[in-house]
């Protein structure tokens, strides 16, 4: 019986991993098309209908490139660091519930890989380990620009991780659980405010936490306007300056997978995940995640990059106090039972 459950878990994980990899490839297409539209360009439209074969062409190109290791690189660390980044990126998706348990051929198939009772902390822990890929890659390149990019990136991710974690505390206080399944279950209830009947999504009761989470998530994935680590005007390309071919593409893929995982997480934590007005299911989750992914691209097309001191100041002097304020307020509401959510 245990072996059976393990096998089912592995199968679900396998399917999920492949779906994520496919989505990631088309995320690059989506980003380029949307970005082009926002900038009055056409975007990739030559390879296949609507340029749909572009990600495949890109993949073949990246795999065929020469894999160069710089002469004064720390060779082993240089070779392993991108793999570390890439391997850790999809693990976060393992705790996201994609639907109710299915019954296939007399076997219960839960639509999530692992129901960990500390799922939220697990995702945060993955984030803190994920920085190693960046810092080790930057250090091992033996290049000053890479090292500077890596140091910036580390400082940024550590600062924003704090905001990310603290912004989630409000949600945890309201739901009373660290398990994503419990958090979803809480959100499937209805919230009645006077004449309004709304879903109990945490974006309604935790709007500040949602905003903080969104900002911190963009910074955590090193995306514009927080893409300081790869500020090409100052640092050539940041921590992956020396990487080429498929090792470069590992960093690239890790960034896109991280975006997808964070979008899924935001949809699950604040927008009710698979919960929808009609016919609950994974399509609602996909729709919400797609909105967040569009938001990422939109931001990139709209906002200029932050200056480095502004970035750190924003995290420590604005977002962190706001997150603490949110925790205090939520705690008081919970203590006095206002709203009785």
């Amino acid at each position: 019986m245990d072996w059976q459950r393990l096998l089912v878990s592995y199968l679900v994980g396998f399917v999920l991993l492949n779906v994520l990899l496919g989505l990631m490839a088309y995320m690059t297409w989506f980003e380029r098309r949307v970005l082009a539209r926002l900038q009055h360009r056409v975007g990739p439209n030559r390879t296949g209908p609507f340029g749909l074969l572009q990600p495949i062409a890109d993949g073949i190109k990246l795999l065929a490139k020469e894999d160069i290791v710089p002469a004064n690189a720390d060779r082993l660390v240089f070779l392993v660091a991108p793999l570390l980044s890439f391997a850790l990126a999809p693990l976060g998706a393992a705790v996201i519930p994609f639907g109710e348990t299915l019954h296939l051929f007399g076997v219960d198939v839960p639509l999530l890989v692992a129901d960990i009772n500390v799922a939220v902390l697990y995702v945060l822990a993955l984030g803190s380990v994920g920085v190693y890929g960046i810092i080790l890659g930057g250090y091992a390149s033996g290049n000053r620009y890479s090292l500077l990019g890596a140091l910036r990136s580390t400082a940024q991710v550590i600062s924003y991780e704090l905001v990310l974690g603290l912004s989630l505390v409000g949600v945890l206080i309201l739901s009373g659980s660290l398990s994503l399944q419990d958090i979803l279950r809480e959100q499937q209830r209805t919230l009645v405010i006077g004449p309004l009947t709304l879903p109990n999504w945490y974006i309604l009761s935790q709007p500040l936490a949602f905003a903080l989470f969104l900002i911190a998530a963009v910074a955590e994935t090193n995306r514009a306007p927080f893409d300081l680590p790869e500020a090409e005007t100052e640092l050539v390309a940041g921590y992956f300056t020396e990487y080429s071919g498929f090792r470069f593409s590992f960093y690239f893929l890790a960034e896109y997978i991280n975006m997808i995982v964070v979008s899924l997480l935001a949809a699950t934590l604040f927008l009710g995940g698979i919960d929808g007005p009609i016919a609950d299911g994974v399509w609602w989750l996909a729709l919400k995640a797609l909105f967040f992914l569009f938001f990422y691209v939109w931001l990139r097309a709209t906002l200029p990059r932050f200056r480095y001191d502004q970035l750190m100041g924003l995290a420590w002097k604005v977002l962190l106090p706001l997150a603490l304020l949110n925790i205090a307020l939520t705690g008081l509401v919970r203590l006095w039972g206002i709203g009785a959510l």
Binding site: L124, A125, S128, V131, I135, A150, T154, A155, I158
Partner: protein, 241 residues
Amino acid sequence: MALSVLVFWLLALVSILGALGVVVARNPIHSAIGLVLSFLNVAAIYLVARAEFLAVVQVIVYAGAVIVLVVFVTMLVHPDDLPEFHGRRPLRVATGLILGIALLAEVTAAILARGLRGAPGPWTEETVAAVGGNTSALGQVLYSEFMLPIQLTAVLLLAATIGAIVLARPEAVSERLAVARRLLTISLAHPRGLDQPEPPLALPAGRDERVKPAGGGRPIVLARSADEFTERPAWGEWRPR
């Protein structure tokens, strides 16, 4: 059962190898990587022992903290600048060996004296399940029975944080006052260079009486050099000139 024992031995082995790597590696970065490897494997051992919360905290606190160590090592130390990492220092090796053996002896003595399993406490599997899992149980015990130690630890950490900030910003009080004064002052560049004898210390009055004077009553100074009073730092940050 046999599977989890096998997994335990594997994790323990890799963890010990990582710890060995910390000591043996010549490059400080490689030492730090070994340390992380060791910590992650210990976290996995906690997972096998069904202490999920402890495992995740181990990863966040320890593995996450080592990243800061790595950053400091990369920033402050260049491997070539570490002669003691390359030469043999018999005294240091001997000291380390003696201290290590002493520690090992202490730990062994403690284990032999008390046994690996202490007296069973009030928390059994059933009581933990009744509270709703070991994370809830841990939280409830920490914030009821051990309330005072938790608060004291929090105060200690806060004091350490404040101390670190104070140490990192060593400028004197007079300098801070100067910064404050600078923020509350409007500075004008010299209109005609530094040789002008009498700087006009007031803005020219507007023709319209109803329009408020620019600057709203803040003192106006003329800058003697290009970088005096001219930089308004972002977010009120003081930057050394």
